[in-house]
C-alpha cells in the first residue's frame, strides 16, 4: 500500500468513527427515554440496564389516567394552535413588507424585532406577571397566548422575510404588468411561492409555544396548566415515577418530532436562524 492509500484508509476510518460516535451521542438519550417508557417498573431499575425486554404500555395508561396530563396536553395543543395561527396572520404580511416594500425606518424596525427575540424571557417575567394580574388574565388561555406571541412573532417575521426574499421579483412585476393589483400580486402570485416557508414557520411557532416553560410556570396555574409544567408532577421529592414520566415525555415530544422530521428540509433554516438569512 502506498502512503497515500494508507492515509486515505485512515481518513475513512476516522470519518466513520465520527459518524458512529455522533449518532450514538445524539440518538442514545432519546432512544433511552422511549425504551424506558416501554419497560416495566422492575425492568427500569434493573442493573445492568436491560436492552431486551417485554414492552408494556402500562405507563402510558397510567399517565393518561391522571387528572392532570390529558388536560395539560389538550391545553398545550389549544394554546400552541391559537398562537401559531395568530403568528402567521401578523408575520406573513410583515415578512412580505420587509422583503419588498420601501419602508421608513426599516432597519431600525428589523433590529428591534431581532432584539425582542434575543432578550431573555426571565427579563420580561416580572412585568408580564404584573400586567396580566392587573388585567385579570393570569392563568387564562388568552393571557398566555398574548405572551407567547412575543416569543414567536419576532422570529416568524425574520423567517418569513427570508422566504419572501427568495421569491424572484420578476414574478410579481410580470403580474403587475398584466394588470394585477399590488395586493393581488402579493396574495395570488407571491404567496403560493412561500407555502413551504409558511409551513416551516408554523411548525416552529407551534414547537416554541408547545415547549415553552418559563412563562408557563409563572403565568399559568391550576386552570390552564400546560404540558411542560404538568410533567414535573411525576418527579416530586417523595416519589420518582420514571415510567409514567418517560411515557408522558414521549407523548409530549413525539408528535412534534415526527412533524419536524417530515418538514426537515424546510425547518433547518428556522433552527439555524441568525446564522443564515
Amino acid at each position: 500500500m502506498t502512503v497515500q492509500k494508507r492515509r486515505r484508509a485512515a481518513g475513512a476510518v476516522v470519518r466513520y468513527a465520527a459518524v458512529g460516535l455522533a449518532l450514538a451521542v445524539w440518538a442514545t438519550p432519546v432512544v433511552w427515554v422511549l425504551m424506558t417508557s416501554l419497560k416495566t417498573r422492575t425492568d427500569i431499575f434493573t442493573i445492568p440496564p436491560k436492552l431486551w425486554f417485554v414492552p408494556t404500555l402500562e405507563h402510558y395508561r397510567a399517565s393518561l389516567n391522571t387528572a392532570d396530563i390529558p388536560r395539560a396536553i389538550a391545553n398545550s395543543a389549544l394554546v400552541a394552535t391559537v398562537t401559531t395561527l395568530l403568528t402567521l396572520a401578523v408575520s406573513v404580511p410583515a415578512g412580505y413588507a420587509y422583503a419588498r416594500v420601501r419602508l421608513p425606518l426599516r432597519d431600525g424596525l428589523l433590529f428591534y424585532t431581532l432584539f425582542t427575540q434575543m432578550a431573555p424571557p426571565v427579563g420580561f417575567l416580572v412585568p408580564f406577571f404584573l400586567l396580566l394580574s392587573r388585567a385579570g388574565m393570569l392563568d387564562t388561555v388568552a393571557g398566555i397566548v398574548v405572551v407567547y406571541l412575543t416569543v414567536t412573532v419576532p422570529f416568524a417575521v425574520w423567517l418569513m422575510t427570508t422566504y419572501f426574499l427568495d421569491v424572484p421579483r420578476e414574478l410579481e412585476e410580470a403580474a403587475l404588468v398584466d394588470g394585477c393589483t399590488r395586493a393581488g400580486a402579493m396574495t395570488r402570485v407571491v404567496l403560493p411561492q412561500v407555502y413551504g416557508g409558511m409551513a416551516a414557520t408554523a411548525v416552529l411557532s407551534f414547537v416554541a409555544a408547545w415547549n415553552e416553560f418559563v412563562y408557563a410556570s409563572v403565568l399559568t396555574g391550576a386552570r390552564v396548566r400546560l404540558a411542560p409544567v404538568a410533567i414535573f408532577g411525576f418527579l416530586t421529592t417523595e416519589e420518582t415515577l420514571w415510567g409514567p414520566f418517560a411515557a408522558t415525555g414521549v407523548m409530549i415530544m413525539g408528535p412534534v418530532v415526527l412533524v419536524a422530521f417530515a418538514l426537515q428540509r424546510y425547518i433547518v433554516r428556522g433552527l439555524t436562524l441568525g446564522a443564515f438569512r
Binding site: 427515554v33 424571557p121 418517560a246
Partner: protein
C-alpha cells in the same frame, strides 16, 4: 437555508437588495413617485406585528425598569415604596449576585467554546458525502426541538441518577465510578455544561456543514498543485474561509446561552446550593420564590441590558470581521 450560507445579517441584505431604487412599483404606477402610497401599503402590512411587539414587549420593558426602582415584596405588602436606585445599589453588595454572574460567564464561555469546537470538528470530519451522514443530519435536529424542560428532567433522572442512570452506569463501566453528578457542587456545573453542549452542538454542526458545502473550490484546486499537507490546507485555507461562519456561531450561541433557563432549571434548579445558579435563575428565584419583585426586576433589567449590549457589540465585531473580505 438552501445550502447558501450568507454570513451577512439579514438586515444588511434586505437593505442592499432594496436600495437600488426599491421595487419599481412606483415607476409602474405612471412614472410618478408615489412614496406615500408605497409607505402606507408597507406600514399596513407591518403594522399588526409592530403594534403587537410594542404592546407586549415595549410596554413590559418600561414596566420592568419602573418596577426595579421600587421595593415590591409580595410577602410584605406594607413595605412597598419608591427606592430609586436602591435595588441596584443592593446588587453591588450582593455576593450571590456576583456569584451568579461568575457562574453565567463560566457556563456561557465554556459551552460556547465546546459547541463551536465540537461542531466544527464533526462538520469537517463529515464534509464529504458518506453513508450515515444524512441520518445524522436528521438525528441532530432532535435536541433542538425536544422540550428543553423534559430534556433537563431526563438528564436528571434517566441519565445521571447515581446507580440507575445510563450515563452513570457507563461512567462505572469505563472506570470513572458512580457519582452524584447533579448533587455534588464540584460536579454539577460541569454536568449542566455537558448537557447544554449536547443540546446545542447540533446548531454549530449544521451551520458549519452548510458553510463548508458552499466554500469556493478555487483555493482548494490551487492548493492541489502545491505540496501541502492536509493540516496546512485546513489551517491556511479552510479555517480562514470559515471565519465568518465561526464568528456567527460564537455570536449567536453566546447571546442565546444567556437565555438558557429551562434545562438547567429542570436538572438542578440552580443547585446544589447555588452551584449552577446562573443570573437568569437567580432573578427567577428572587422574584417568584422569594416574591421580591422589585429586586428581581432590578436583576432582570441588568440581564436585559447585558444582552442588549452583547447584541450591539457583537454586531460590531461581526461587521469588522467580515469587512476585509
Amino acid at each position: 437555508m438552501n445550502g447558501r450560507p450568507s454570513p451577512t445579517a439579514l438586515a444588511d441584505e434586505v437593505a442592499e437588495r432594496a436600495r437600488p431604487g426599491g421595487i419599481p412599483f412606483a415607476r409602474l404606477a405612471g412614472g410618478r413617485w408615489r412614496l406615500n402610497g408605497e409607505e402606507r401599503f408597507g406600514l399596513l402590512l407591518v403594522g399588526p406585528s409592530l403594534l403587537l411587539l410594542l404592546l407586549v414587549s415595549a410596554m413590559p420593558l418600561g414596566l420592568l425598569l419602573g418596577t426595579s426602582l421600587f421595593r415590591v415584596e409580595l410577602t410584605k405588602p406594607w413595605a412597598t415604596g419608591f427606592v430609586g436606585l436602591g435595588n441596584y445599589l443592593q446588587m453591588l453588595e450582593d455576593a450571590r449576585f456576583w456569584h451568579s454572574l461568575g457562574v453565567t460567564v463560566l457556563y456561557t464561555g465554556t459551552t460556547v467554546v465546546l459547541q463551536t469546537v465540537l461542531g466544527l470538528a464533526f462538520a469537517l470530519a463529515l464534509a464529504e458525502e458518506m453513508r450515515g451522514r444524512n441520518l445524522l443530519r436528521t438525528v441532530v435536529l432532535l435536541p433542538m426541538i425536544l422540550t428543553p424542560v423534559v430534556v433537563g428532567l431526563v438528564w436528571r433522572t434517566l441519565l445521571l441518577t447515581p446507580r440507575y442512570g445510563l450515563l452513570d452506569y457507563i461512567a462505572q463501566l469505563v472506570g470513572v465510578g458512580s457519582h452524584s453528578w447533579l448533587g455534588d457542587p464540584a460536579l454539577a456545573l460541569g454536568a449542566v455544561i455537558v448537557m447544554h453542549t449536547w443540546q446545542w452542538t447540533p446548531f454549530a454542526f449544521l451551520v458549519f456543514s452548510a458553510s463548508l458545502a458552499a466554500l469556493p473550490v478555487e483555493p482548494f484546486e490551487a492548493a492541489k498543485l502545491e505540496p501541502v499537507t492536509a493540516w496546512q490546507r485546513l489551517r491556511y485555507i479552510t479555517l480562514p474561509l470559515l471565519r465568518p461562519a465561526i464568528v456567527t456561531v460564537v455570536v449567536v450561541r453566546t447571546i442565546v446561552a444567556l437565555r438558557a433557563f429551562d434545562a438547567i432549571f429542570a436538572a438542578t434548579g440552580g443547585g446544589p446550593g447555588t452551584a449552577t445558579e446562573i443570573l437568569n435563575l437567580y432573578a427567577y428565584r428572587v422574584a417568584f420564590n422569594n416574591l421580591n419583585l422589585g429586586y428581581g426586576a432590578a436583576l432582570a433589567s441588568t440581564l436585559l441590558l447585558a444582552t442588549a449590549a452583547m447584541t450591539v457589540g457583537f454586531g460590531r465585531v461581526r461587521a469588522v470581521v467580515e469587512e476585509p473580505r
